[in-house]
Structure formats: C-alpha cells, structure tokens
C-alpha cells in the first residue's frame, strides 16, 4: 500500500510499524507449520536442522521417514489411517444427514421455540470437549459401545452435527422461499421439491458443513482417547501417543501429509464458499 506524497512523517512511521506488526503476526501464525516440512525430509534421526541440510546438500535430505511411515515394522499408521477414514466417513454422512434435515426444520418460519432448539442442537460445539467426552464415555460404556467403531462414530456424529446445522442454516437464511412455493404451485410434492430445487441450491452449504464434520471427526482426540481400545486407534491417537513418548521424525512425516490434506480441504472449502455466495447472489 503506497502512501500519498503529502503524508506527514510521523503518520508514515506509524503506518510502516503497523504493517511490520501485522507481518510478524502472520509469520507467527503460518511459520510453525512450515518448520515441519523440511525436517520431515531429514536424513538423520534427530529433529533439528543438520549442517548438511542448512548447506542444502542433497545428502542431508531423504525420504526414509516416509518409507518408515508406510512400510516400517510394527507400524501403527496403516491401521490408524484405515480406522480414521472409516470413522470420519460414517460420522460425516451421519452428521450431514441429521444436521441438514434439522437445519431445514429450524429455518422454517413455523418452527416453535426456535432459539431453545438451536441452543440445544449446537450445544456439543459450545460445551468444552473434555466435558462432552466424559459424558459420552459414560453413555457408551453403559450401552456397551466403548471400544467399538460404532461408539466412536456415534460420538463423532454428536460433535459434528452442530457445524452442519450452523452452515446449512446460514445458507438457508439467504434462501429465497418463493422458488419452493413456485415448485409447489406447479404440482411438485415436498420431497420432490427438496431434491430438485432446494438441495441443489444449498449444496455448497451442505458440503462445507460436511467438510467441517469430516475435519472434526478426523482431528478428534479426547473422545477417542476415552473410548478407543487398541483396535480402534486413529491417526490423532497415534500422534498423541507418539508425541507423549518421543518426538520422532516419522511423526513429522505424518504431520506433513496432514498439512497437505488440510491445504486441499482449505482450497475446497474456499471454492465452495465462493460458489455458495454466487448462487445466493443469483437468488436475490
């Protein structure tokens, strides 16, 4: 941002100080993530920049930790990835369906006690996770679902639905209800109207809610920590266990993969948001 020529000196100084501060904060936000990338390609066993790495000597870099991650002996990452994906997949489907349907009801102007229902439905997001985890654990232990995939999937549906409810109600708030009335007046039944008219228009909101639910499940540690047995270990649990014992380069390799994944999710979420804004813009 160039300043006009007539700007007084003290304001000029302040302006550049402000930009510097902002730059430092952005650096503080993003830099920690990029420390992991080069270190995961370290050829040595220690987690610091070796002199060879600093000299950009190719010998300082290797893929050994990625190989260890995939083929390493008695390595938990394969099982953990499988479990994480299965759990996140079903949890996402469950929360998306339940959350979208509930959001449709909540956005109806005929809905009684709207605020109270909304507060209850998003409460799993508001209550600290450690409390939710404790309560959910008691329930799952009581009904015999502790240490099962089903139990973990159900808990992740609980934790994921608030995000779907919020994103879909937000999308529906800009929704022009005259299109559904038009469909009804043309003889369409409510289900048909939903599938053919409403759903295509709110799809971006539904998908971004689903993305939230997916990330919530894929990233969740506390509930799984309480519930999981050895068979149900997930990627976050393995990272948690690994980090408690010792910081190993293999964990950094896994972390790098997760950063790449979150970049992809960020890009798709951003594209969806823009598409949703465009769709809603047409409606207005």
């Amino acid at each position: 941002m160039a300043l006009p020529n007539y700007t007084p000196l003290h304001y000029r100084i302040w302006h550049y100080t402000y930009l510097t501060i902002c730059g430092l904060v952005f650096f503080f936000l993003i830099a920690p993530l990029f420390v992991i990338l080069p270190l995961s390609f370290n050829a040595e066993q220690y987690i610091h920049f070796s002199s060879k790495m600093l000299a950009l000597d190719p010998e300082g870099f290797s893929l050994r930790w990625y190989k260890d991650m995939i083929w390493g002996t008695k390595n938990p990452w394969g099982l953990a990835t499988k479990n994480s994906l299965i759990i996140a997949f079903f949890a996402t489907i469950g929360s998306t369906i339940l959350g979208t349907v509930a959001a449709l009801g909540l956005s109806s102007r005929h809905m009684p006690y709207k605020a109270a229902f909304m507060a209850l439905l998003i409460s799993p997001m508001i209550v600290p996770l450690i409390i939710s985890g404790t309560a959910i654990f008691f329930f799952m232990a009581k009904v015999g679902l502790a240490a099962t995939h089903t139990g973990i999937i159900l808990s992740h549906i609980i934790l994921g639905t608030p995000f779907v409810v919020i994103t879909v109600t937000a999308t529906l708030s800009g929704f022009d209800h005259s299109v559904t009335r038009a469909a009804a007046s043309l003889g369409s039944n409510p289900v048909n109207t939903f599938m053919k008219v409403t759903l295509p228009l709110i799809t971006p909101g539904v998908i971004s809610g689903a993305l939230f639910a997916f990330v919530t499940s894929f990233d969740e540690v506390i509930v799984v920590l309480f519930l999981a047995g050895l068979e149900n270990t997930t990627i976050p649990i393995q990272m948690w266990v690994g980090l408690r014992e010792q910081l190993s380069p293999t964990i950094l390799a896994v972390a790098t993969c997760l950063i790449i994944m979150s970049t992809l999710i960020l890009v798709s979420a951003e594209l969806l948001r823009r598409r949703s804004e465009r769709l809603r813009g047409i409606n207005r």
């Binding site: 936000l29 920690p32 409810v165 948690w240 950063i259």
Partner: protein
C-alpha cells in the same frame, strides 16, 4: 359485527382451515428437527445429566453395608459403638470378604479417611477365623482402626445416598470428623492452584490473542480483496490443520535444541550451554495456545470489521478528529460485537483445553481438564472427574449467561 363467516371452497370456515394448515406446518418443522433432537437427547443431554448424577451418587457403600448403617442410626457418635453394630458390620463384611468383593469398599472408605484401607485389608484376611460371638473384641484385636471413634464417625458420614463431598474436594475443602466443612492442609491444596492456573491461562491467552488479532483483522478487512484473500490463507490454513500437527510443530520449535532456542543463542540472549526451558512449563502453554486459538479471534473480528464503512473514519477525521480519536471514538466501539464474540470463543475454548497443555505444558502447565482426564483414565475416580466436569460446565454456562446479559448471544458470528 355480522356473524357471517368466511368459508373456504370446501365449506370449512377459513379460520379453522388456516389453523389446521398452520399446525401441519409446525408439525412438519418439528418432525424435521425431531431425529437430531432425539439423537442428541439420548446420546448427549441425558449423559450430561448422568454425569451430574454420578458426581453426587454415593449409594454404593450403603448397598454394601446395609445392616451396619441400620445399626449405626441409633449410635450417638460419642463412644465406641456397641456389640450390636460390630455384629451388623460382621454380617455385611463377611460375605463381601468371602466373595472377594470388598476392594471397592477399601478404596471408597480410604477417600473418607486414610487408614481404612490397611485396616480393612487386615480384617479381610482375619475375618474367616472369627467366632460367632464377642464381635467387638475380635474386631478390636484385629486392627487398631476398630478402637477409634473417628473411624466409626467417618463410616457413619458415608451413610447418606447423596453427597457433595466430591465438590468440596474439587475446591480443596473437606468434612472434618464432626461433619463441619474445613480447608484441607496447606500442602494438599492442589485444586485451587489448578483452577487459578486455568483461569489465568485462559485470561492471558485471550488477551494475547486479542492484541495479535486486532491489527491483522483490521488489515484483512481494509486491504483490497486480492491481497486479503491471499493473507486470509495464513489464518485459515492453521484453522483447518489438525491440532496435533500444530502442537507437534510447537514441540519442534520450542525444544531445547530447537530453532527458537538457536535464535536466542545466536542473538546472544543466552549462552549455548545454558539454553532456556521453553517447553514443559507455562511459557510453552501460553505461546502454543495463543497461536492455535488465534484464528478463532481473527474470524469474528474480521467479519465485523468487514461491515464497517471506511467513510465513517474519514468523516471523523474531516470533522477535525485526529486518526487516534477517530479510532477510539468511532472504529473501536463499532468492533465491540466482534471483540465480544472472539474473546468469548477463545476464553471458553482455552478454559477446557486439553491436548496442548498435556503435551507442551508439563507438570507446571497442566490445567483442570488434564486433571479430569487423569481421573477418568488413570485414577478411575469417575465421580470426582464428574464433579470437576460439572464445576467446569457451570463456570462455562455462567460465562455465557454473563455474555448474553452484556452483549447478547445473537451477536456471535462464526466467520
């Protein structure tokens, strides 16, 4: 007025058929919300109620020693109880000892008064050889706890089915021998420190997040779209990245031989062989939590600042205000909803934070949620974990309530 009614085409009064349609619409909306509502009611709301219930439920011991408590009802608590009470205790304890089910009893009574565990264990071994008379003498010969009135008082104190002792323990209070509430010994007051530390960390993390987030949100909101979208990635990428990844990157950065320490040594702030401990203490918790929670402050602030028209500031300046007064009098008050929402979010999240303090906090950086997890996973004192959880929940709900009174909960925006 005329009594004539407006009829709809099928002859029903319009008012009636409108009401019917209205009711049908209401029902339809309720049916849509129904499945999720029921699901959450069963799997989430009731379990939280169950947690409250567990924290005060103290029926186990009453069920294990029914005869003893009936006999103790008549006892005045001054001298040692009569033979009758000892006999009742024998009747309760003998089957437990034979069935090897007395373990929970030791544990529970030892919470009440230390010494019970060893006394009961010894009694457990000896009780098989008891003769069926003179129970008092035999008990008193077995272990010294049976000669002491305090132990019988402690036992009698466990008689009620409901007890708020776990809540007292969570506040470093306890019942003394006479049933009055008193503070626990100075060196055992660990929970007070934990609560204070949790509040302290939550408060300062909120302050740090606010100070760091305000300038960058302002920059993001005022820059042209093409630059701000690019910079927004710096906020959103950490937001979408796994919490454990971000925590592990801080572990890499803050370790003794890590880049941050390298920098400190290179700048000459510390000697190479005397590198400061940045991790496994409160510093690590502060730094890592601030970075991790920063996006939660930036997003609400940004969404509020985006709606403030830049012409307001220009108007303020053109009316003779310096940029500073214009900022204080115009811009800052307009951002209040964003500040409120961001601070509430960050404070609530950090008050219940678990993963990061557990990994980078070490012993001196662990918070109340770490203690809850410890009692859930390791000590298995679930009632106490429930009591701490309930206290935390009440705290969080109070904060929401205050916030709602001051700002209004509807002003929360999630980006």
């Amino acid at each position: 007025m005329s009594t004539e009614q407006i009829l709809s085409s099928d002859g029903v009064p319009l008012e009636v058929s409108l009401k019917k349609a209205e009711r049908r619409n209401k029902l339809r909306a309720l049916m849509l919300v129904g499945p999720l509502f029921l699901f959450l009611l069963i799997t989430y709301v009731f379990p939280i109620g169950d947690m409250l219930f567990r924290s005060i439920d103290d029926r186990m011991i009453t069920k294990m020693l029914p005869n003893t408590f009936t006999a103790l009802e008549k006892w005045d608590g001054q001298d040692l109880p009569d033979e009758e009470v000892y006999e009742a205790f024998y009747k309760d304890f003998y089957p437990l000892a034979m069935a090897k089910k007395s373990g929970k009893l030791y544990q529970r009574l030892n919470y009440e008064k230390s010494g019970f565990s060893s006394g009961l264990k010894k009694t457990n071994r000896k009780i098989k050889k008891f003769e069926k008379a003179n129970y008092k003498e035999q008990f008193m010969a077995t272990h010294k706890i049976w000669n002491k009135v305090e132990y019988w008082v402690a036992l009698k104190n466990t008689a009620p089915n409901w007890s708020y002792a776990k809540y007292l323990k969570g506040m470093d209070l306890k019942f003394d021998d006479k049933g009055n509430i008193e503070q626990v010994a100075e060196d055992r007051q660990i929970h007070k420190i934990l609560w204070m530390r949790t509040l302290n960390v939550a408060f300062w993390v909120t302050v740090f997040c606010f100070c760091l987030a305000y300038p960058i949100s302002h920059l993001l909101a005022t820059l042209p779209m093409k630059y701000s979208n690019l910079l927004m990635i710096c906020v959103l990428l950490p937001f979408w990245t796994s919490l454990l990844v971000r925590t592990s990157s801080w572990m890499v950065l803050l370790q003794q031989q890590g880049p941050v320490n390298d920098l400190i040594v290179w700048l000459g702030l510390a000697a190479n062989d005397n590198r400061p401990e940045l991790m496994y203490n409160v510093i690590g918790t502060f730094v890592a939590m601030t970075q991790i929670l920063l996006p939660f402050m930036v997003l609400p602030l940004y969404s509020v600042m985006k709606t403030i028209s830049p012409s307001l500031m220009r108007a303020g300046k053109s009316l003779g205000g310096t940029p500073l007064t214009a900022f204080i009098k115009i811009y800052f008050p307009l951002t209040m909803p964003g500040i409120g929402a961001g601070c509430l979010l960050v404070f609530i999240i950090s008050i219940g934070y678990y993963i990061t303090p557990a990994l980078v906090g070490g012993a001196s950086g662990s918070l109340i949620s770490n203690t809850i997890a410890y009692h859930m996973k390791s000590s298995l004192d679930w009632a106490f974990a429930s009591a701490l959880g309930t206290m935390l929940l009440v705290g969080v709900l109070t904060i929401y309530w205050i916030y709602n009174k001051l700002v209004g909960i509807d002003n929360i925006k999630l980006g």
